[in-house]
């Protein structure tokens, strides 16, 4: 064998090894990706498989009766209504803070000003604050205002929790409004305020709605922040100053009982919450694709 052929042989072998490393990387990457997707499917499958058989109409139409938590009859209407009221209230409250802030950050300030950067930075920090800390903080607010655990206290706490999530989601879309569109609006004599709310907000309407839905889903699903603040009750709240039950806590309390019948209901409640949150998130995703008739392109 000549030296040249030997050298070519080593080069071939090296190339084969490099190709093998490449294939290994692709294979492992695919496995890792599949693992993440598989875990999601596993979670959804387990929740549905355990919860669906336990699901019945009573759950949606009745509140817990005496002895519900030892397996007697009743439903989780209290938690469904409580979560809906809490989520709607908190999302509405957060919306009135988030929309103006997102518009301000992108239209009043140059998008990269130091002040705007700092505000985004504090929003990111707030986003990272754990919900149990919001719960503790909500508890402090309650003590300061003389409130007891109530729907109102829960709404305030969850609104604080949703606010950074919603603002950052809106900020991402308002950021994309073309400069020319704003200039066109100014040149026909609109003030900044009018440009912000009548031009920019309309241009971003689908994205803003997506942000609202993301925040709503997060607020409805959160348990740790409402533990201290909204309390828990078997009745449907009749006013803002009464405690309110929530779905995540209903699941948490029911699964914590030693009775299999009640745990069954926890699984069924988990199906209700999962379907609710999934629906919200999928609707939110489709909004950002559809409903673009007010969008100038």
């Amino acid at each position: 064998m000549t030296a040249v052929a030997a050298a070519a042989g080593t080069a071939d072998r090296r190339l084969a090894r490099r190709k093998r490393a490449d294939r290994l990387f692709r294979g492992l990457g695919l496995v890792a990706t599949g693992l993440v997707g598989g875990v999601l499917l596993l979670i959804l499958a387990v929740i549905v498989w355990k919860g669906l058989p336990a699901l019945n109409l009573d759950m949606f139409t009745r509140t817990p009766r005496g002895g519900y938590y030892i397996g007697r009859e009743g439903g989780i209407l209290n938690a469904i209504v409580g979560s809906a009221l809490l989520g709607l209230g908190a999302t509405a409250a957060a919306f009135f803070l988030s929309l103006p802030l997102a518009l301000f950050l992108n239209i009043y300030r140059s998008r990269t000003s130091r002040f705007a950067t700092f505000t985004r930075f504090s929003l990111d920090v707030l986003w990272g604050v754990p919900s149990i800390v919001y719960g503790a903080f909500g508890f402090i607010i309650m003590a300061a205002l003389g409130l007891r655990a109530s729907l109102l206290a829960g709404i305030i706490t969850v609104a604080l929790l949703e606010f950074p999530i919603m603002t950052r989601a809106m900020d991402e879309v308002v950021r994309l409004v073309p400069r020319e569109l704003l200039d066109a609006s100014y040149s026909v004599g609109a003030t900044r305020l009018e440009t912000a709310f009548k031009v920019a907000a309309r241009q971003c309407a689908p994205g803003i709605l997506t942000g609202v839905l993301i925040a709503f889903g997060r607020g409805v699903g959160d348990a740790a922040s409402v533990l201290f603040t909204a309390g828990y009750t078997d009745r449907v709240p009749a006013s803002l100053f009464q405690p309110a039950a929530t779905l995540p806590l209903a699941i948490f309390f029911q699964i914590g009982t030693p009775y299999p019948e009640v745990q069954q209901r926890a699984y069924a409640s988990a199906v209700v919450l999962t379907v609710l949150v999934l629906a919200i998130s999928l609707i939110g995703r489709s909004f950002s694709r559809r409903y673009r008739k007010t969008v100038v392109r």
């Binding site: 990706t33 387990v46 754990p130 149990i132 800390v133 503790a136 988990a270 999962t274 999934l278 998130s281």
Partner: protein, 293 residues
Amino acid sequence: MRYFLDRSARRLFPLLAGFPGFVVLLIAAGLFFRSRAIVLTRPLSKLLFASAWLPSKGEFGFLPFIAGTMYVTVVAVILALPVSLLAAAYLSECAPRRLRGLAATVIDVLAGLPSVIFGVWGVLVVVPAVGALAGLFGAASSGYSVLAGAVVLAVMISPTVMHIILEVFSSIPASLREASLALGATRWETTRRVVLRKAAPGIIAATVLGFSRAFGETIAVLMVVGNVAVIPRSPFDPGYPLPALIANNYGEMMSVPMYDAALMFAALILLVVVIVSNVLARRVLVRLERRAA
């Protein structure tokens, strides 16, 4: 009138923009104020590093809870990081476009699931699995353990970590990759020598953010971790993280003296750790983003 509205809005908006920073300060101040009864009367080192937790005798040693939190969180990051990094690298460097779109949906859905759902899944699947695994290793465990908490947490933080890593990867100029590929490097060599090297600070930042997300997670961990106030010796031992401590004891916190201050102090520890790690990680990410722009 229109000008009046515009001018008043111009005055009001900066206040609004200061609001997030103000809330961060307010939370920190509020927690400190409510925990001062315990912070100011005991040396900090004794609070953080004593392991006796006897609230009725006024002894508050947070070490078991801090150790429990750290143990669960670190194991969760160790489990989540390799899978997230590998999946993110594959998705950004060689996956077909359709798969990439599908993965984006999976990440969004996984990130949006409520933590109590992860908890239910943990109780149904992870806890029995860990119990069986402990049996194989000859350890006595009910399955409610640090490892179960870490597995659930790893699943919860991986969408966050993947999302950030993917964003960092997409901020790396395509021309760098093309240069490497044009020299004959394979996808893997390009990923390892160009993309990963360039993205290293961002990957560390994503890890830190995943860590801080896991550090404060409450309900899901609480449901599977066992909640015994002892420093865990092995992954099959139960642990008692700080968030679980707060959530489990809010009911009694008004009946035992200084208990409320102790719980607020626990929340303060969480807040400080989360703020520090967020500030560090976000600074890295902002710098990367600016470099890419």
